[in-house]
């Protein structure tokens, strides 16, 4: 058995443990966030890794993490925006016109242990929503973040988020009833 007596080594080990704990507890949530923002699994996995590296940089620079979920989704949202800018791809705002519908890659149901019909039923309607609506609904109803926290992540007022959420939910309900 080996013991580390050097403070730097100890600090490094604690930082690593924190990073791995965040990964173990939140990597699936990060993956969902990215998966429902981009068009494929591989990109989503790449983004999870990049997000973890940003989190690591934050930890290493001595930054504290009070509310983990709010923190990781802030990192995730900024990362998506940065990567889109870097790629000089279609601006996020223009993705809201519904064109992304044809780009969206439905997850392989067998890989996610989800009944194929159920999954299709669920995702087919969800994927038709605009990008930001998907993100809002995901954060609120899948990841269970309070409106206040989402408002912090988005840098908007709580009322604005509430209105947007309400509209997004209505759209989803309307689509679901239309198809169901």
């Amino acid at each position: 058995m080996f013991y580390t007596s050097n403070y730097t080594e100890l600090a490094h080990k604690h930082a690593e443990e924190l990073l791995l704990r965040i990964y173990d507890e939140h990597s699936d949530a990060l993956y969902r966030f990215f998966y429902f923002r981009v068009s494929d699994k591989e990109q989503a996995l790449d983004l999870v890794q990049e997000a973890m590296m940003r989190i690591w940089n934050h930890i290493r620079s001595g930054g504290g993490i009070d509310r983990t979920k709010a923190f990781i989704f802030t990192v995730a949202r900024r990362l998506v925006i940065d990567e889109w800018r870097k790629k000089k791809a279609v601006p996020i705002s223009s993705l809201e016109d519904g064109d992304e519908e044809t780009q969206f890659d439905v997850a392989d149901p067998s890989a996610d242990f989800v009944n194929e019909l159920d999954y299709k039923l669920a995702v087919d309607d969800f994927k038709k929503l605009p990008e930001d609506d998907r993100e809002l609904l995901l954060l609120r109803f899948v990841e269970d973040l309070p409106v206040k926290t989402i408002a912090e992540i988005w840098g908007e007022r709580e009322n604005t988020i509430s209105v947007k959420l309400s509209r997004a939910l209505s759209k989803l309900r309307k689509d679901f009833n239309k198809n169901g």
């Binding site: 699994k41 996610d112 309900r173 679901f176």
Partner: protein, 272 residues
């Protein structure tokens, strides 16, 4: 909210990373994190993860082939004392290696290889300037124990060789290989610590001389009395072992003198 909508969100929540890919990605995250540390030389170069999506196919391929556990075991191979995966390397991987050492010769080689691994770890840590006193003593002690076992098992092989001498005319070459391994071990040990104290180098040099004599004694006896040659070879290998041990003990003296004293007494007892 409508029950249908709840169902949709419930289904979306089931979207997760494939377990095998998750395990592989966890190791990648850890390795990449270490890449940010200047102390770790094997830093993974910082790249644009977003653009390099083809690597994910490699993750998945690895995941499918190794199914998580073996992937971890593989990653553990490069770990060093004090790291999370080091215990996996020492406890799991090396147990597997031992299980696969079936023949007597391979079991002897296993001891030499294990000594080599501990010395190799010490070497890497030494190069990084991270070879702290505790770790150094521990690694060299383990390496020493392996060399001791190596010599002991060589002695066992000698007994077997003597017993089967008439049936196995190739016994000489078997012992010859063992002696050569002993020489390789001493040579690599010398290479590793050439920057260290002069007396260590002298000890290792003498050890090599002894091993050379062991080989010579085999050559002299070739075609004549194999049993005597084997015995001399083992005696010389034992001498080499003692010299290597002396060189290692010189290295670990500076940090814990009382421990060295205790070990010295123990070793004295063993020799009696």
């Amino acid at each position: 909210m409508d029950s249908e909508l709840k169902k949709i969100f419930g289904e979306i929540k089931k979207t997760r990373i494939d377990p095998a890919a998750k395990s592989v990605l966890r190791e990648k995250v850890l390795l990449s994190a270490r890449g940010y540390e200047p102390a770790y030389e094997e830093a993974t170069p910082k790249r644009s993860w977003f653009l390099a999506s083809h690597r994910i196919f490699a993750y998945v391929a690895v995941a499918v082939i190794f199914v998580g556990g073996v992937g971890i075991s593989y990653s553990a191979e490069t770990s060093l004392p004090g790291e999370a995966l080091y215990q996996v390397k020492v406890v799991l991987n090396e147990s597997v290696l031992r299980v696969f050492s079936v023949t007597q010769e391979s079991r002897i080689s296993f001891e030499a290889n294990m000594a080599d691994r501990r010395l190799s770890e010490a070497e890497v840590l030494l190069e990084k300037g991270e070879l702290s006193g505790d770790i150094k003593n521990n690694l060299l002690e383990q390496a020493l124990q392996r060399v001791d076992k190596f010599v002991t098992k060589t002695g066992d092989l000698n007994e077997k060789t003597v017993k089967e001498e008439e049936k196995e005319p190739s016994a000489e070459s078997v012992v010859g290989e063992v002696v050569i391994e002993s020489e390789v071990l001493a040579t690599t040990t010398e290479d590793r610590f050439e920057k260290e104290k002069k007396d260590i180098k002298e000890g290792l040099s003498e050890a090599r001389d002894r091993i050379e004599k062991a080989k010579s004694s085999l050559r002299v006896e070739r075609g004549q009395d194999v049993r005597k040659g084997v015995e001399r070879a083992v005696i010389n290998a034992n001498e080499a072992r003692t010299l290597i041990r002396g060189a290692m003990e010189d290295r670990r003296g500076e940090n814990n003198k009382s421990e060295e004293q205790k070990t010295g007494e123990k070793e004295g007892g063993d020799e009696n």
